[in-house]
């Protein structure tokens, strides 16, 4: 039975902030950067209004923001920060420290294109640049998903089988600055759901202890780890990512009981008999859904697959969703310059390569630097896929839609 909920008008940034207020972590490191700034401003207001009791630290750069979270999380605290674009790029060094030290930090990424040239609008070049850093990545389609993920992320990150930091990704401006209706749970329900942070037990300098800095039972975080054990510690992270594929749906299922909203790693829509389908991330998938409905009304067998969890990559779900589809278009809102294709396209190709019978797969790069992706553009993608399906072959799989030739 889901709990009584309150409908609130909030943009994506406010949804992150409101959920984080309800979670009431221990430490928030704040440094402003467009389009994330609203999050840390709201979190500051909550402190001023006495609604929360987290330590709010206005640091001097993003590198310091994530370092601050690393220190806090190692000391056993729940630590939160938020950033975008070049802010995440400046954090890059520390993203690997956070995951390598197995610190379950939660960070909102308000996706913005990475300069240069300087651009403040949305694409996925920032979080895609961090895809190998060992963080779980959840991509949200709308502010409701943002709110929900900002609560469930803590349980996923802190699960003893996982212990990995999480990025909750939302598209800059499209979500961050656009007001939507968001159903919110009562404070008590949220705080009961997230509970207290769990710790695993490890062997310390003075015997067994919880994995956190505690002067009574000392531990060292981040010492040198060379040819002797570094490799094995990386294998542990690989295993943690595998475990996360099990834990994330468990946490989502538990959350569905209180919220009535269920989520998947991968969300298929009208895929039962689809002949052409589009795979993608984030807010664009709302526009794809709208287009799929229109095309279905016109008799076109179109479908979509929204990837909500990009790290860990939900390979087996993806195989199930796409294996029988004749033509698949992969939407990438970022580039991997010099690579065969966009990041999502490449990983989809790698995942489906081993199938005896596989779809024809084309890549559609769109929306770079905030370029609008409207229904007409998505319709064009489906038309291109129908042509591929009819011909039974793909020429050049790379398409740059919405760009001047």
């Amino acid at each position: 039975m889901s709990e009584k909920q309150t409908l609130m008008g909030m943009n994506g940034d406010e949804s992150v902030a409101y959920a984080t207020k309800q979670v009431n972590p221990d430490v928030v490191a704040a440094y402003p950067i467009t389009p994330q700034t609203i999050i840390v401003e709201k979190l500051s207001e909550y402190v001023a209004d006495g609604e929360v009791d987290y330590e709010y630290v206005a640091v001097e750069s993003e590198h310091s923001a994530l370092s601050n979270c690393v220190g806090a999380s190692a000391a056993g605290a729940r630590a939160f920060t938020a950033t975008a674009a070049n802010g995440l790029a400046l954090m890059w060094e520390i993203t690997f420290i956070a995951s390598g030290l197995r610190l379950p930090i939660v960070m909102a990424i308000v996706n913005r294109s990475l300069g240069g040239p300087i651009n403040i609008h949305n694409d996925h070049s920032d979080s895609m640049g961090a895809r190998d850093s060992g963080w779980i990545q959840i991509h949200c389609e709308n502010s409701q998903e943002v709110y929900d993920a900002s609560i469930t992320a803590w349980r996923m990150a802190e699960h003893p089988d996982v212990l990995l930091p999480i990025m909750v990704c939302l598209d800059g401006f499209t979500l961050s600055h656009t007001m939507e209706n968001v159903l919110t749970l009562p404070d008590k329900v949220v705080s009961d759901f997230v509970g207290e942070r769990e710790f695993i037990t490890v062997k310390g300098h003075m015997g067994e202890t919880e994995l956190r800095l505690n002067p009574d039972v000392p531990l060292t975080f981040g010492p040198v780890d060379l040819q002797d054990y570094y490799f094995e510690h990386k294998l542990h992270q690989i295993d943690a990512m595998k475990q996360a594929l099990k834990v994330i749906p468990e946490v989502d299922a538990e959350y569905a009981k209180i919220s009535g909203r269920s989520y998947d790693l991968l969300h298929p829509y009208r895929m039962e008999d689809a002949e052409v389908a589009v795979l993608g991330l984030g807010s664009t998938m709302g526009t794809v859904k709208y287009t799929v409905d229109q095309l279905r009304d016109e008799g076109v067998k179109a479908g979509l697959v929204k990837m909500r969890v990009f790290r860990p990559f939900p390979s087996s779900d993806l195989v199930d969703a796409l294996k029988d589809i004749p033509a698949v278009g992969v939407l990438d809102k970022s580039l991997s310059l010099g690579a065969p294709g966009g990041p999502l396209f490449e990983e989809t190709m790698a995942t489906l390569y081993h199938l005896p019978k596989k779809p024809l797969i084309a890549n559609y790069i769109h929306g770079l630097g905030g370029r609008d992706t409207g229904p007409q553009l998505i319709r064009g993608v489906f038309e291109s896929l129908l042509e591929i399906k009819d011909k039974g072959e793909i020429g050049d799989p790379m398409n740059y839609v919405g760009a001047r030739p």
Partner: protein, 285 residues
Amino acid sequence: MASIRELGTDQKNYWCPGCGNFGLLNGVKRAIVRLGLRRDQVTAVTGIGCHGKTTNYLAVNGFHVIHGRVLPVATAIKLANKEQTVIGFAGDGDAFGIGMGHFPHAARRNPNITLVVHNNLIYGLTTGQTSPTTKLGHVTKTSPRGAFEEAINPISTALASNAGFVARGYVGEMDHLVDLMEEALRFRGFALVDILQPCVAWNRINTYDFYNKRVYKLGESGHDPTDLTAAYERAEEWSERIPIGVFYKVERPTYGDNFPVLAGEPMVRKKLDSGKVAKLISEFA
């Protein structure tokens, strides 16, 4: 030689009406004109923040860099082409927050460049959060109970970092600002000009009125700019009277002077002697 008109561009200006940046930009243009420089002889480097648009509005060589990295880029441009007059522009956040790591090193390294700080004591572009120069007690969006971290003092920080030229200007004293800018650009070595520049949108404390009531000119007060101790004392003044002008000015060898490879022609015009390189490589063969 460039004129004021030629130093402008046709770009639409997005600064708020009344922003101190307008006076600052005008002051820089006037100083360039006074020095008789051509547009191609000047390079401007800007960081992130409202000031960053300066490279859109000033028709000289320009490089709009990432947040906090004005000084490394400006230093390198000067090393590559010492004939350029290199001016770095940064806000108080860019210079003394995210880019603070570079500031003392540029000062002690002493490249022959000028750093102009658009110091409005607030984060303006991100709409009014506490900056590293925000004064104690100032209520901002990130300090609703008042800032409780001590502010960076750009002047005493520069002095402690062995900067050779340390000055403060105010956009409400334009002729004085132009004199300061000219003196800084003529100075041989690292010059800091920290400029008090009201943010009319987000800083309601450090306004034109606030400064007009407080600023006085060091040049008219008997201050000796070669006296380091006196400079430190003046640097501490703020609440009642705020000094503007040159706090400290002592020339010492620049980074280039002590680096033999930089002697003679600018690096950009030096030819790579492939014979010498081949000989060097053969030594390790």
